[in-house]
Symmetry: C2
């Protein structure tokens, strides 16, 4: 797989932008958070999809038959401009056959601290923490 | 506006995830880049929408009547895992009444180096560069 990722993004009026790679349908992002998530929300959704993909992959290799994976992600922004993120917290809810706390925690740890390319692209001074909820 | 941003993200099978804030429609992200952009593409789209929103706002204040704003964003990933971004390049195409190179360059500079909250949340060792194209 190439080391380059390319997206094309077009302004759609107001603070709306539509874009994505050539290979897939595009995303709408709305800075006014009316028609779509805003850019800072979208960063959190990207981080969740990235770490979620890792968790799905790791648990499959651990012979877990995953039924549910839900993540709530909260980002705290600096009070002053440019109001970047200063901390990010995940609440991860997982259910699956063959799942136990050890497997779930290992998958979450590996994903959030090592594997997730989106989180690894963020400023390393942003603490990323998580809380784990196992459902039966 | 609150300093917290919160999104809820649900796994949709394979490597697909759907999520967003409570206030807007959600986004689909697909780690297989079939049904939607992947997480690393989505990070670039978020960066473009963020800096694009700044550019739109700055140019409006400079009395430019914007007709077009298109951005191509290329991110180079590290060869080794976790394959984070190591450089990001924007190609920004702008057209509008009252636009000149000075105004366009000032808006792009301010946005990419100072204002954009998504870019400011990235690792500061990732160089972000841009090329500007003015259309009449």
């Amino acid at each position: 797989m190439s080391n380059l990722r390319t997206v094309s993004v077009e302004w759609q009026g107001n603070l709306r932008f539509r874009g994505g790679p050539a290979e897939s349908p595009s995303l709408l992002i709305d800075g006014d958070v009316k028609d779509a998530p805003g850019p800072m929300h979208t960063l959190l959704v990207a981080a969740a999809a990235c770490s979620g993909s890792d968790i799905v992959t790791i648990l499959e290799k651990s012979r877990v038959d995953l039924r549910k994976l839900a993540m709530e992600v909260r980002g705290e922004r600096a009070a002053d401009h440019p109001r970047r993120y200063i901390s990010i917290q995940f609440v991860i809810t997982i259910a699956g056959d063959g799942l136990d706390e050890t497997k779930a925690r290992r998958a979450a740890d590996l994903s959030l601290t090592k594997y997730c390319s989106v989180l690894q692209s963020l400023n390393p001074d942003i603490p990323v923490t998580y809380e784990l909820k196992l459902e039966s």
